[in-house]
Symmetry: C2
Subunit: 125 residues, 2 copies
């Protein structure tokens, strides 16, 4: 059971950042009208506004490298919480930006999940 | 509504780290048998094992300083997800350890919450 949660968390994380780095507009498929994103302290609600925010970030290309993925089941929703740490490389920047991000995934039909809660923070040393 | 969530998240965070730094055994009051903690990748389940882990950490005294608190409601549980970044100072250590931590709080009677999900990671630069 715990292994299953880890596999789902890792598969979600791989998929999420692959889309972010290669096809950012497609990230909207992972959110719903109830979804919430807090991006560096800015609160955004609903798939449309979240997609707009992600697509309007002030860089076109980026590359995420994942350092750690911690997943836990949430028995109250049948969902999963996923906590990610990693680094983000922007074009033309030599150094990486460290970040942490958490997702609360809620199950949908046919074994898929959507992102209900998403909180992103850069880590400043 | 969002303000209420922020107030609850901040009150929880203040309470949690105050207990951690001043009366660590009392942290057990915030967990339940269903609770899960992932501490630097180690998974621990249930209030008893979580309390044992927190009380057996290899330092007696510490001091948390909180940098950011991001809270969101979870409409599927009536709960709150709280994402914290900050630093941890250990006795005799000059430099601070940066950390990130997330909590999924589930409501109980009388307006209180318990920690269902807790994930802690140190941030390595």
């Amino acid at each position: 059971m715990e292994e299953q949660v880890d596999l789902v968390g890792k598969a979600f994380v791989d998929h999420y950042y692959h889309l972010f780095d290669n096809d950012r507009p497609a990230l909207s498929s992972l959110y719903q009208p109830t979804s919430m994103l807090t991006f560096e302290g800015q609160k955004i609600q609903g798939v449309d506004d979240i997609a707009a925010k992600l697509n309007q970030l002030p860089f076109d290309q980026c590359r995420h490298e994942i350092s750690t993925i911690d997943s836990q089941p949430c028995s109250f929703t049948g969902g999963i919480v996923v906590f990610v740490s990693g680094s983000l490389q922007l074009p033309g920047e030599e150094h990486h930006l460290r970040f942490s991000q958490m997702f609360h995934l809620i199950p949908m039909l046919q074994g898929s999940f959507f992102v209900q809660n998403d909180i992103f923070r850069l880590n400043y040393g």
